[in-house]
Amino acid sequence: MSEFKVHHRDGEGVSVIDLKGYLDAHTAPDLENAFQKLINEKKFNIVVNCRDLSYISSAGLGVFMAYIEDVRKNQGDIKLTNMSPKVYNVFDLLGFPILYEIYKDELEAVGKFGPRK
């Protein structure tokens, strides 16, 4: 059964990760691998599109926390978009909106990275 998918797209100096399904302790390593791959390739401008993400637990939230410091040290960021109210509520309960930029729309988030140097 396929319960979680990570899909990655590159364009305009920004990498987009599309999440689909359930992000829990079982599937969190898949997202870790996706972040690790981008960091290894020195791609630090990252947008995570949560449009098709139906569930997240603290194991999934922990992945964002594990990589944000590395990414920001390299003048990049992880911005989140297109969350359902249910998924947003979990991020909100843990105070994530203070630390992460969350946008309604992917294009808006991509635009926040500004023009390429």
């Binding site: 829990d24 569930y55 637990s57 922990g62 926390m65 594990a66 979990v90 309960l93 843990l94 105070g95």
Partner: protein, 147 residues
């Protein structure tokens, strides 16, 4: 008292989905709204994940028992294991802002359980049986709107 429901799983994260479906169905049948049921489901996921990672330290072949005991307005879920005991007193509620700004991953599950449920209780017999009880009361604001 309504019928007690029990599910026993092996201590693997690929069983979490099955646990979530089991709890969601029971919570909805008890009368909780979808939003409240989702909170209960997440709290149980966090408790089971803690058992797998900490009590059993990722050993894949141990058992976790999930008992659901619906009783009038009280919906209680017990998560029972026979692994390493967890001292709930050592898990203080983190100062969330400070915790997050230092990018620490641990402890969020315990915080979520306490935030999502009305009551969280621990009952431990070291080396024999550990139990986490998650309790939520069914009040009109948490029920499915009827009309």
């Amino acid at each position: 008292m309504a019928k007690k429901l029990t599910k026993i799983i092996q201590s693997r994260t690929d069983n979490l989905l099955e646990v979530r479906e089991f709890v969601m169905l029971a919570a909805r049948q008890f009368g909780f709204s979808e939003e409240e049921s989702s909170k209960i489901v997440l709290a149980v996921d966090e408790a089971c994940t803690n058992v797998i990672k900490h009590a059993y330290q990722n050993a894949p072949d141990r058992s976790i028992q999930i008992d659901i005991m619906p009783d009038r307005e009280t919906f209680q879920i017990s998560i029972i294991d026979e692994g390493k005991s967890f001292n709930p007193n050592s898990a203080k509620m983190p100062d969330l802002k400070q915790h997050l700004s230092s990018f620490r991953r641990g402890g969020l599950g315990v915080y979520l359980m306490r935030t999502l449920m009305d009551k969280v209780e621990y009952n431990y017999s070291p080396g024999k049986r550990n139990e986490v009880r998650l309790i939520k009361y069914l009040t009109p604001s948490k029920s499915e709107a009827r009309g």
